[in-house]
Symmetry: C2
Subunit: 256 residues, 2 copies
Amino acid sequence: MSQSGDVFGAMLTDAFAVARGFGRRPLAGGRLPRPVIEIVERDDGLINGLLAESYFCEPDQWPPYDHRALDRVRGRVLDVGVGAGRVALVLQDGGVAVTGLDISAGAIEVSRARGVRDLVHATVDQHATAGERYDTFLLLGNNVGLLEGRDRARAFLAALAGMASPGAQIIAQGTDPYGTTDPVQVGYHARNRELGRLGGQLRLRLRYRELATDWFDYLVCSLDELAELVAGTGWVLSDVDNADAPYYLVTLTPQS
Amino acid sequence: MSQSGDVFGAMLTDAFAVARGFGRRPLAGGRLPRPVIEIVERDDGLINGLLAESYFCEPDQWPPYDHRALDRVRGRVLDVGVGAGRVALVLQDGGVAVTGLDISAGAIEVSRARGVRDLVHATVDQHATAGERYDTFLLLGNNVGLLEGRDRARAFLAALAGMASPGAQIIAQGTDPYGTTDPVQVGYHARNRELGRLGGQLRLRLRYRELATDWFDYLVCSLDELAELVAGTGWVLSDVDNADAPYYLVTLTPQS
């Protein structure tokens, strides 16, 4: 198995070829195109597959909170984790000045091929040194996860603060993981807390065909935990939309 | 991760609940039902996801060779690896006396719940001691794979011979794996041969959520290799249908 490398990009590139119906595509038995599936493995051995076509879905297939997120957008937008560009394309078509950011070179290439004009291949920390300023930061597709945990959350939010125009906002979508009674999940959360981690601080890696990323943290947290992570960062939780619980949408604004 | 156990059965049980739209189902974030995906991991780290709904697909979604296989059926049938019963149900509805065999208790339960009347939870070796006789053995859904490799092929075909009525036939579907130029596949085949294994003698395990099977062999082989495996077993390769290559359908009949 090849460690590291652009696993997400390789997966999106194949999924894009399947969606278009031409180009090099994964085949079953060398002949039949098959759906591209993103495999997410957790460090306790839990493994899940997700249909990669969801990264390409049109607005009529979006969850309702994604539409409500876009209603809040104003000014210049940084789409953090642009992926296949599903959100950036809709904003761009609506005349919004949107920049797509991703750490995956393959995601950047797929977004470019699909028509996203302004793209940056970088981490938020790297991009914060570029001198650009934004009015809205979008963290959709469960990308509250990018806060990772207590340490990374502070650095991540600081990087966004460094790119923030006066009165900027972060619009982020997350999922409260604690409604479950599944012993596999409840046990994982308990072990995490014993280790001093947040309960839903998932240790994950992506796998796609012969590729695997290194292990990384990805955060699913409650709104209370999110409020704690935000405290003292210069951002405040100024709005919470919990209408589709356990999925939520939050707006962070600069502390006045 | 829990080793062994009925991984395939747990996966089919969830997929059946999703297909019916009620019962305990896998949920994303504890709320949205998600498609059930069977994850197949190879011992070199290659990993693939497959939509479990394919085990439930109706005849109009079947590959054409499955229909041609059913045209060959006669007499009393043993469906080896009945799975969710997709083939057995069609035969039964057509008035054929069909028995579904599976080593997965969950597969047997799903097939029973879907209406398959005659089911046996056993290996072919175990069932060969029961004194039943069949006119047709079906190995569809790529189940030439159950021959595993040189050693198991002889024992597997002997078990079927022990349950064969005079003039019985085996109808089996396989896939020739050697058309690819993918270095991951070509390299795997070469390493297998260096180890004295057949090129496409895959070492696999199934994973589903926190469950994983032990590693097992599953064979994808060329028609030439299949002919070699069959030689001297008392069965002969009496018909080959290669119209949908690399997928093929073979009929084995007793050596006269």
